[in-house]
């Protein structure tokens, strides 16, 4: 169902694309939304507030499908906040407010027809700190299927193998699927979380500093994995590691104090940034 021809050209005219998608969306029934393969993400004039503190200022981004987009910037500049708003994980926080919109495949994530749950099913998320459930490896991976009421053993088994292979973990854990997820090492746990996030075959994968707590070997494995995964998923990755951003991403967005300073092809950002601040940051002169 997620099969669509990889669209290699990043969208150029954001406004026009938005308009076009909106027309398409308006012609569809709400229930059908989840089934439409539209992995294109647009952030339009988006501002975000925790209570009275504004943490995102009028952000505009067009994130291409089946590419890796890296969000970089010093701590506290709002990268996580933006990421968590794409699948509305911030909903549970008291006193939040936003302006502008985030569109996925042209449909607003704040659409009143849209079930938050189905939105989240479309978007896998990997957290900064790996957070496997206190369950077996197997149960961790099939969790998203089980909550959707899919309990057929064959399907579950198939999913476990596919996801673990997808997360390059299969060979390491195939004999201990019934063991607790806590018996894994830090790097394995994070890959387990990735496997868990892709078990339900989402369209988008959000990764919030997935390697920050890992050693270089594990980091390398996950970077390889990201390279592999971008064939199928739109990936947004937050990272503090400039080399990592340069290695894995196609596009890079630089945030500073809640503002999107510069957003371009990764190569451009690192070799030939337009902004002074970007240059200073990527060359390690501050942050």
């Amino acid at each position: 169902m997620n099969e669509a021809s990889p669209d290699s050209a990043p969208a150029v005219d954001v406004a026009q694309a938005v308009r076009q998608r909106r027309v398409e969306v308006a012609q569809r029934k709400p229930e059908a939304d989840a089934d439409v393969n539209l992995q294109h993400i647009q952030v339009c004039n988006y501002s975000f507030f925790y209570g009275t503190t504004q943490v995102l200022f009028d952000v505009n981004m067009d994130i291409p499908e089946r590419r890796v987009t890296a969000l970089i910037g010093p701590s506290g500049c709002g990268k996580t906040t933006l990421l968590r708003n794409i699948n509305r994980m911030n909903d549970l926080i008291d006193g939040i407010r936003h302006q502008g919109d985030i569109l996925i495949g042209g449909q607003s994530v704040y659409d009143r027809y849209l079930e938050v749950i189905s939105l989240r099913k479309r978007i896998g998320m990997v957290f900064q700190k790996s957070n496997p459930f206190p369950k077996t490896i197997y149960e961790n991976i099939v969790y998203s299927l089980r909550v959707a009421g899919r309990n057929k053993k064959a399907e579950l088994d198939e999913t476990v193998e596919r996801s673990l292979r997808g997360a390059a973990l299969w060979d390491e854990v195939k004999d201990r699927l019934k063991e607790s997820a806590f018996s894994l090492s830090g790097g394995q746990m994070q890959r387990l979380c990735i496997a868990r996030a892709i078990a339900n075959r989402p369209e988008i994968l959000l990764m919030d500093e997935p390697c920050s707590a890992l050693d270089p070997v594990a980091t390398g494995k996950i970077e390889d994995l990201i390279d592999e995964l971008k064939k199928e998923y739109t990936i947004i990755i937050v990272t503090h590691n400039m080399q990592q951003a340069a290695r894995v991403s196609d596009r890079t967005a630089f945030f500073y104090l809640g503002k999107l300073i510069e957003y371009d092809d990764t190569q451009t950002i690192f070799m030939n940034p337009a902004e002074e601040q970007t240059e200073a940051y990527v060359s390690g002169r501050f942050g």
């Binding site: 709400p30 699948n87 994980m89 909903d91 549970l92 008291d94 009143r112 027809y113 849209l114 079930e115 749950i117 189905s118 989240r120 099913k121 978007i123 896998g124 998320m125 957290f127 700190k129 790996s130 957070n131 496997p132 459930f133 206190p134 969790y143 998203s144 089980r146 909550v147 959707a148 806590f182 746990m189 979380c193 868990r196 996030a197 339900n200």
Partner: protein, 766 residues
């Protein structure tokens, strides 16, 4: 070492002395504190154990002294309260008193004889002894009888100490049966208005049985002369040769033991005699002949021995089949070698001293236990149990009086009493009963802890049925669904609820809630049911609503939509229940004959179970209120402490809030939740005031929600003020406390083990 000393440590690296000392001190202090807590708890347990331990000790009997008694043909032996001046009555009716204090000492009075005046006029042919009232009964050769009261009195001579004086107070000789025919056996009973004497005579080889009822004139100066009111010829009721006669103190029966082994029970209603029952106590034995037949304290149990040595107790109780009070076999004791030679019943309790000459045995009627038994060094012919249950006196065939001290402070105590079924006097079957005090001195204490344990479990059960679902669901809702802004108010409110003194809750329960609930049981039940079903129903419907409408309420504020409906449903349920009562719970009022709809009357009629206003339902409800905040707060904390990462992880995978709560949060918090439940359980088990006030404190052994109960803790609260210090009841209450202690200890231990397991299983990373 050397080197290090040489090098001066820069000041900035030096740890301050005070810091070190304080650290060391706190270490020790905490150690001591922890240890003293453990020691204190152990000491409490040891204290309780020490209080309880004496209950399980047997009687100790210690030989004191022997003293000679002038030879004679003694047939009766009795003693005063202090066992200082026992007496012996010979066949001729002479009463010999023997001073046992300080034999050979300066103030010892030796022995002296008193002869009742009647012995001059007529020759005594029979002597009987009513031990409980220290009354002698004389029958004469010419068919008359007299009652002689042995009146002991403590006097306090000038030299100090106490001296027991005695007086004989005799009634005039009254006629019974055939004139001029000797009385063979006789018995007397009567402590109240009604008095009855029965006697057997032998006329030309035929046995006759006669009885007279006595009247006593009451004058301003007190009791007046006794006179015969009416005579009865009971010969027609005889089935054989009468050997034993007994009349209970209520004078409402005559019991005749015949040589063929049967006992005839004649009931006397004040006017007429009727034969109620004939039974053969030793029917299953080869030799059924009865050797002795005597009452236990209270005159509702007969201790019988057979010539073959069998020893049984028969008690009178209302037989459900016969629908009247008849005698039935209730207790069996180990056999003696032959029929009893001596018998003496305790005036304090249901113990009796019995023996066949060589063997003396102190037995306890209620519990079927032998408190003490020994082969005597002599052949005893008579025995007396000190009225204070502190002396044993034996007269042997060599006319030597043997004096023993008896120490048995808790004769009734034992496993069987506390945890076993016992058929108490007046009960048709063996039961678990608790009734520690009664209206009469001869009341048989019922000390089974089983009804109290059941009551404790019952109270806990109903409290938990009510509290558990509410507390747990409320905790899940508050921690996982409710908006944090509202949650800020919910928790402190619950904590205030937890701090409500239970006496206030009990007071409310007893005086306000119990009447309301008992007046409207169907309404209450249907409103509750309505709320439960309604909650599921509305929840389901809400889920079916389109997102657009659900969007109108911010997540965490859904209760705003729910509450009005729930109130409405509860209201409707209340009225529906009242309506249902009109049709379903219709019953005919036995007093007025009117047909009315009343659940309170219908329930007992339909189920055969009781209905009380202050019942387990009310207690469960109110105790639930005491328990809910505890379980709620701890569970809520445990749920809120589940790492946010688990929740986000689950939500990010597309799980709903409910799925997240049930599949991830609750299992992860299961150890804490389990603790919460167990702490709540502990509170419910030990809760006292609510139960004391909101139930009738009736010890029951059933789980009917519409009757009350008595819990172990309530029992202690209710009875401790009444329990004499160090007495059996006092110690039994401590035993109850120990059972309670062990129950909570067991619960806590199981809980702790389970908790550790759960914690291990759901241990979070790091």
């Amino acid at each position: 070492m050397q080197k290090r000393q040489q090098r001066a440590v820069p000041e900035r690296f030096v740890v301050r002395r005070a810091t070190l000392y304080f650290d060391r001190f706190m270490n020790q202090f905490i150690k001591v504190g922890g240890l003293s807590v453990i020691v204190a708890v152990s000491l409490i347990f040891v204290f309780i154990l020490l209080q309880v331990f004496p209950l399980f000790r047997g009687a100790t009997v210690e030989w004191r002294k022997d003293m000679p008694v002038p030879p004679g043909q003694y047939v009766v032996m009795g003693t005063d309260e202090w066992s200082e001046l026992p007496f012996f009555v010979n066949a001729g009716g002479e009463v010999l008193f023997v001073d046992t204090v300080d034999p050979g000492g300066p103030h010892n009075r030796g022995h002296f004889t008193r002869t009742p005046g009647l012995a001059d006029e007529a020759t005594v042919s029979a002597v009987a002894f009513n031990e409980m009232q220290t009354q002698l009964l004389y029958g004469t050769v010419d068919g008359r009888f007299a009652i002689v009261d042995v009146q002991y009195k403590a006097t306090f001579p000038e030299r100090g100490g106490r001296e027991v004086a005695v007086e004989l107070d005799e009634t005039p000789l009254l006629r019974i049966g055939r004139e001029g025919v000797p009385v063979r056996k006789l018995a007397y009973g009567g402590s109240g208005v009604q008095k009855l004497v029965a006697a057997t005579q032998e006329v030309e080889g035929e046995f006759e049985l006669h009885a007279v009822s006595l009247a006593q004139q009451r004058t301003l100066l007190g009791a007046g002369e006794l006179s015969v009111e009416r005579s009865y010829d009971l010969t027609e009721f005889l089935t054989g040769e009468p050997e034993q006669l007994a009349i209970p103190r209520d004078a409402d029966a005559v019991l005749i033991g015949n040589t063929d082994g049967s006992v005839v029970y004649l009931h006397f209603d004040g006017q007429e005699f009727t034969r109620r029952q004939v039974f053969v106590p030793f029917e299953d034995r080869e030799d059924r002949r009865i050797a002795t037949m005597d009452f236990l304290l209270g005159d509702v149990s007969l201790v019988l021995t057979a010539h073959c040595g069998a020893n049984r107790v028969y008690s009178i109780y209302r037989d459900p089949e016969a629908d009247m009070r008849i005698w039935g076999h209730t207790k069996t004791f180990p056999d003696l070698d032959r029929g009893a030679v001596f018998y003496s019943a305790s005036m304090r309790n249901k113990a009796f001293l019995i023996g066949d000459g060589r063997v003396a045995s102190l037995r306890y009627g209620t519990t079927e236990t032998i408190r003490w038994q020994e082969d005597l060094p002599v052949q005893a012919t008579l025995a007396a149990l000190g009225p204070r249950y502190n002396r044993l006196l034996f007269l042997d065939d060599q006319y030597s009086l043997h004096f023993y001290d008896l120490h048995d402070p808790h004769p009734q105590a034992g496993w069987r009493t506390f945890f076993g079924k016992i058929q108490y006097e007046g009960q048709a079957t063996a039961e678990y009963s608790w009734q520690s005090t009664g209206g009469r001195d001869d009341f048989e204490r019922k000390l089974s802890l089983v009804p109290l344990i059941i009551g404790t479990l019952k109270g806990t059960l109903y409290a938990m049925i009510f509290a558990l679902p509410i507390a747990l669901l409320a905790a899940i809702y508050t921690s996982q669904f409710l908006d944090p802004a509202v949650k800020r108010y919910v928790k402190p409110t619950m904590e205030i609820m937890a701090s409500l003194p239970s006496v206030v809750l009990g007071f409310l329960a007893a005086l306000w809630l119990a009447p309301i609930i008992s007046n409207a049981v169907p309404s209450v039940l249907s409103a509750m049911l309505g709320v439960i079903v309604g909650a599921f129903g509305i929840g389901y419907l809400w889920g079916q609503l389109p997102q657009r409408i659900r969007m109108l309420l911010k997540p965490g504020y859904e209760f705003i939509a729910f509450v009005p409906f729930m109130v409405l449903i509860a209201y409707a349920g209340w009225h529906l229940g009242a309506l249902a009562e009109q049709f379903l719970f219709v019953v005919e009022d036995p007093d007025t004959g009117l047909v009315i709809a009343d659940f309170r009357l219908w329930f007992p009629r339909a189920t055969g179970l009781g209905f009380e206003q202050r019942n387990a339902f009310v207690v469960g409800f109110v105790m639930g209120f005491a328990v809910i905040p505890i379980i709620f707060t701890i569970t809520e904390d445990a749920l809120s402490n589940v790492p946010e990462a688990f929740r986000s992880g689950s939500l990010a995978l597309g799980a709903s809030r409910w799925q997240t709560a049930v599949r991830v949060v609750v299992p992860t918090a299961s150890a804490g939740t389990f603790s919460a439940v167990m702490i709540g359980l502990g509170r419910a088990v030990g809760e006292t005031m609510i139960v004391v006030m909101a139930t009738g404190n009736t010890p029951v052994t059933e789980f009917n929600p519409f009757t009350g109960m008595r819990t172990l803790s309530a029992n202690i609260a209710v009875e401790l003020p009444e329990a004499p210090y160090l007495g059996t009841l006092y110690r039994t209450l401590f035993l109850g406390a120990m059972v309670l202690f062990l129950m909570t200890f067991a619960v806590n231990t199981v809980a702790e083990v389970m908790r550790q397991r759960l914690r291990e299983k759901y241990r979070a990373v790091e």
